[in-house]
Symmetry: C3
Subunit: 108 residues, 3 copies
């Protein structure tokens, strides 16, 4: 048993949850916030048998995609005195995924 923790964009979370359920995998979603953009995103917990980890990773790859986001930095990025805030492009990835070992799994 492994616990997959995937941080995904809010836009992709419904598609991801739907695809997991249709493929017969259980999952739990938590609302979260990114440290850099300070925007809402989703953290999904998926407990899976060792032998299907790759299948679930494939579902994440198919449903979560990276997007470019325009951000107006708070601190000055350019040279010189006057500071004109202009938007910069930041690419937010499809998913940040941690696979953790599970010592014991119980259904009560």
């Amino acid at each position: 048993m492994k616990l997959i923790i995937a941080v995904v964009q809010d836009k992709d979370a419904p598609k991801l949850m739907d695809s997991l359920v249709r493929a017969g995998y259980s999952a739990t979603k938590l609302a979260s916030t990114g440290g850099f953009l300070r925007e809402g995103n989703s953290t999904v917990l998926i407990g899976v048998d060792d032998d299907v980890t790759e299948k679930v990773i494939d579902i994440i790859r198919k449903t979560c995609r990276s997007r470019e986001q325009l951000v107006t930095p708070i601190t000055p990025v350019g040279p010189g005195e006057s500071y004109v805030p202009y938007p910069v492009g930041v690419v937010v990835g499809g998913a940040t995924v941690f696979i953790l070992p599970v010592e014991k799994f119980l259904k009560i």
Copy 2:
């Protein structure tokens, strides 16, 4: 040290937190959503010494119980063309529990 992650029904979360505190165990609750029912549930983090893991599991068993829930499926379940949505019973378990190994525990 182990980290117990328990996904429980919202109805049982207050009783579980109360029982843990009275028994002297610390815990942290996060609001979450189930993938299948799309309903709110609770994810509880409980960091415990190795030797009391079973005691905490017992508290979860005593405070979290399974319930039957009526769900009207979105996709047709019956045979034939016309689709009449009728409710089906789904049993939601008392708790889904992951016990994770902890390399280091710090109180700052």
Copy 3:
């Protein structure tokens, strides 16, 4: 790769996230609730390379501090029959930190 899970006070969460980002570390914040005080706090997930774990712990130490909080206990604490609820001081620590082993880390 390790996954650091830090439960911190809501007052310190913005400073912590800011310090992590400025130092080039990524993090994800989740809203949570403490079992004893039933008050809101923050659970921060920080995936880091093994060799910088201590650096991130230092940032947590510098930005999260313990505070005394007055709590009016629900159950009687004093001797005798009549129960006069009076506030008791509880010290809430700066951070409760779990460091978990990560088998695999993916950016999709």
